[in-house]
């Protein structure tokens, strides 16, 4: 037995050794980035002011919901969805149009809209084994076209209740509370439900998941429904913030969401990831943007910085794979 164990140790490294070596690279990079951000934040006059922090929280929460939604899809191995921001917008439009029936009804209808739109894509991807990016591209064009045909360029609120969601509680924006709540709920779903575990298996290797008797199609659809619902909440928050809904307000959210997912550390290949990490990822992006703004840098510099951060993450993940 001892000899067998010895031979394993030779071939596969000691159980603790590789982990000790592997963790620091990614963690160090994170810590360094964090230190840099905190240092910059502290040295930027006015960053820690009430107004600036509220603005930061607001900026994070809208796109943050979409990033959380994207995390589900990424963990499930369907890299990303290009139609998620369009889903967000449509859900916002549904919300605004349905406000006449009261806030609860409007929220439910928006969630259903988001869940159905995204779930249908999930069905095509999960059961027909279609390429997720192509499906989401098709859905994107379809949604943009259909929404504008049906609803016109802009949907105005049918009732005043949305004002509530613009408010603050103890000086914290409601939208931020919703976002953090969603992140926690989402994380609980991933860590502690059967669905969450199955999602990781499917994302890691969907043929092996099928062979192991996991309902691959069903899990994929469920992940999309959940992502759609999360995106819809983002849509509700966006629409409430602007007091109207159209297909423009959430434009470009996909990119930031994907960046946040990757910066947060969810594996591009699927199979692992965390919504709380995505929350940190979106926080990092928001801080970068806010700092750039306050330091007087242009929009281009913000983009450049976020682009570099994503690239660094991808390189780090690649290096991690090579070490294996």
């Amino acid at each position: 037995m001892t000899e067998a164990a010895h031979s394993l140790a030779l071939s596969e490294g000691t159980p603790t050794g590789p982990r000790l070596r592997r963790v620091p690279l990614a963690t160090l990079a994170r810590l360094a980035a964090l230190a840099l951000l905190v240092g910059l934040a502290l040295s930027t006059p006015g960053f820690l002011s009430r107004v600036s922090l509220i603005a930061l929280a607001n900026a994070m929460s809208l796109v943050g919901c979409v990033a959380l939604a994207m995390t589900f899809l990424t963990i499930g191995g369907n890299i990303m969805s290009l139609s998620l921001a369009a889903t967000t917008s449509v859900a916002g439009m549904v919300f605004m149009a349905a406000l006449g029936w009261g806030l609860p009804t409007a929220v439910v209808l928006a969630l259903v809209a988001g869940g159905v739109i995204s779930g249908l894509q999930g069905a095509v991807i999960g059961w027909l084994r279609a390429n997720p990016i192509i499906v989401s591209l098709a859905a994107y064009a379809l949604l943009i076209g259909a929404a504008q045909l049906v609803a016109g360029p802009k949907v105005l609120p049918a009732g005043p209740d949305f004002q509530l969601l613009k408010g603050r509680w103890l000086d914290v924006p409601i939208s931020f509370l919703v976002f953090v709540g969603l992140a926690i709920i989402g994380q609980l779903i991933v860590s502690f439900t059967r669905f969450g575990h199955e999602l990781m298996f499917v994302g890691s290797n969907n043929r092996a998941a099928e062979a192991a008797g996991i309902h691959v199609g069903r899990v994929t659809v469920a992940a999309h429904v959940l992502a759609g619902a999360f995106a819809a909440i983002g849509g509700i928050l966006v629409a409430s913030r602007f007091g109207s809904a159209d297909m423009q307000t959430a434009r470009g959210f996909e990119y930031t969401a994907i960046a946040a997912v990757l910066i947060g550390g969810t594996s591009i290949a699927g199979g692992s990831g965390s919504l709380l990490q995505t929350l940190l990822g979106i926080a990092a992006i928001a801080v970068i943007n806010a700092l750039a703004l306050m330091q007087g840098f242009s929009m281009e510099v913000q983009r450049l910085t976020v682009g570099c951060a994503v690239l660094v993450v991808i390189v780090l993940q690649g290096l991690g794979r090579m070490k294996r």
Partner: protein, 507 residues
């Protein structure tokens, strides 16, 4: 044919002198020395983790040794990269086929050649391709044939020819026959013998005892990163070789069933898959291990896959215990009690980037859930328990499965099938493919134990030695049909071989 004495330096084609490779604190190989004569076929044996792959990587310039020297034809060499090794005349024929299926034979042969012509194709390059094809016995294959249109054995031969086109004087073959049928193996053997007669040296890595004795002149055994012995095959009896490889006494590699089989657990009637399997019927009792044997393409693998619900156009009646199972849906098969271990471990068998914990509980989620909520600590406990049952080192449970050896990965895939409270049918395809002798013995023990717990076990394998040693009953198949069924006492290699090849011998 007598071989020049091993270790005679005057004619040495390849000399490896006190080679050591360390990765940090881990020593992969230590003080390995060997000498290979021109025209010698040397078997290189050893379990996973013995250091074979590390040695091969050093010989092919993929890894730099920590210390030690290599000399080819007496000239000291230092391989900084694979091209250096190629130029020195060493070529690896990889275990996994590395051909580009949509390219022609000609293009594949020249692919990655250090001196590939600037133009894709010249008269000289075609002529050279022709020569090497003839040299490995592929006279019938045209240089323009698409590789996708070739059989598996032909592709393997192309891999060997690719080594030749690089003017290799020493070819390293890494389990070249792992995926081939008996007749195809004969072609590879023939090619190796031709190489030998041309003075080409061969290092032949294999887990199969038979190949060592049929093909090789001498054998080198490695274990735990060290060279254990090198000798002429004639001087090493089979039994000793096995013991040298696993490093302990070979008492019960193939355990027999402890108790007579129980009630019928699996009933299959007229299982058919269009074009592949024709009316397969069988009954398997709890505690019984039934082996399905046939050549590649005979339908054995597909039969097992169909039982696992992974073949969508399969038809027939399948009954697990008292329940009728619907074919064509893996989740229904799983809930009926079927558990499947895939022939393709990396693609379908395990989750490479997930931990051992996760891999072991992949099929066990449903019973540990209370209204959708999972208790991770229960799963952890179960994973530890399962790990102990399949003799998997529990300290490795946190590692990603992709970092483990083939044997350990397979233990994860099989460990997942164990469920004492709900015995079912365990379906395995090629359960020990790419698994070393030591881990094999443990897997056979595990299978017997699973049988004793009331499971019925069905395995398809092309490894006759394993079939003859392990199973209680063997079903032979040819061209999608059952040819014969034999009880353990009546199993012999010659009968099985005759049955699974007969049609092709007479044809």
């Amino acid at each position: 044919m007598p071989v020049r004495a091993i270790g005679e330096p005057a004619v040495a084609r390849l000399t490896v002198d006190s080679m050591t490779k360390r990765f940090g604190a881990v020593t992969a190989i230590a003080d390995v020395s060997l000498t290979l004569a021109a025209g010698e076929v040397r078997a290189l044996c050893g379990g996973n983790g013995a250091g074979k792959s590390t040695l091969v990587k050093i010989l092919t310039g993929v890894l730099l040794p920590t210390s030690g020297q290599i000399a080819v034809d007496g000239v000291p060499r230092r391989f900084g990269n694979p091209v250096d090794a190629q130029r020195a005349g060493l070529a690896l024929v990889a275990q996994e086929l590395s051909l580009a299926p949509d390219l022609s034979v000609h293009d594949n042969l020249w692919l990655g050649h250090a001196d590939a012509p600037m133009r894709r194709r010249t008269a000289a390059s075609v002529a050279r391709a022709r020569t090497v094809l003839d040299a490995v016995g592929l006279e019938a294959v045209a240089v323009d044939t698409r590789v996708a249109d070739l059989s598996l054995a032909e592709r393997q031969l192309i891999e060997i020819a690719r080594g030749l086109i690089r003017n290799a004087s020493t070819l390293i073959l890494d389990e070249p026959t792992a995926t081939l049928s008996e007749r195809e193996i004969a072609r590879v053997f023939e090619a190796v013998r031709r190489l030998k007669s041309r003075g080409c040296s061969v290092i032949y890595i294999t887990h199969r005892m038979g190949e060592v004795y049929d093909l090789c002149d001498s054998v080198t055994v490695m274990r735990n990163g060290r060279l254990i012995t090198t000798d002429l095959v004639a001087n090493v009896p089979r039994h000793d070789l096995l013991e040298l490889m696993i490093g302990r006494k070979l008492t019960d590699v193939y355990p027999a069933a402890a108790a007579p089989p129980g009630a019928v657990m699996l009933r299959v009637r007229d299982l058919s898959i269009p074009q592949i399997v024709d009316r397969f019927s069988a009954e398997v009792r709890a505690g019984e291990i039934v082996g399905i044997v046939g050549q590649i393409g005979s339908g054995t693998i597909e039969t097992v896959r169909a039982l696992a619900g992974l073949v969508h156009d399969a038809e027939g009646e399948v009954q697990v215990g008292k329940r009728i199972m619907m074919l064509g849906c893996s989740t229904r098969a799983a809930s009926a009690g079927m558990r499947f271990v895939s022939e393709d471990r990396a693609a379908e068998g395990i989750f490479l980037d997930m931990s051992g914990h996760h891999n072991l509980v992949a099929t066990r989620l449903s019973e540990n859930v209370k209204s959708g909520v999972i208790r991770p600590w229960t799963l952890r406990r179960i994973a530890r328990l399962l790990a102990r049952q399949v003799s998997f080192d529990y300290r490795r449970l946190a590692l990603a499965a992709g970092r483990l050896s083939g044997g350990n990965q397979q233990k994860l895939a099989i460990g997942r099938c164990s469920d004492r409270r709900h015995p079912g049918v365990i379906l395995l395809n090629e359960p020990t493919r790419g698994v070393d002798m030591g881990a094999r013995a443990e897997i056979y023990q595990t299978l017997r134990r699973l049988g004793a717990e009331g499971n019925a076990i069905v395995m398809a394998s092309t490894d006759l030695e394993e079939i003859i040693g392990l199973v209680d009953r063997v079903v032979t198949m040819r061209r999608g049909r059952i040819v014969g069924v034999h009880a353990r006492a009546a199993i012999s290699e010659t009968t099985i071989l005759a049955e699974i090849t007969q049609a092709e011998v007479t044809a």
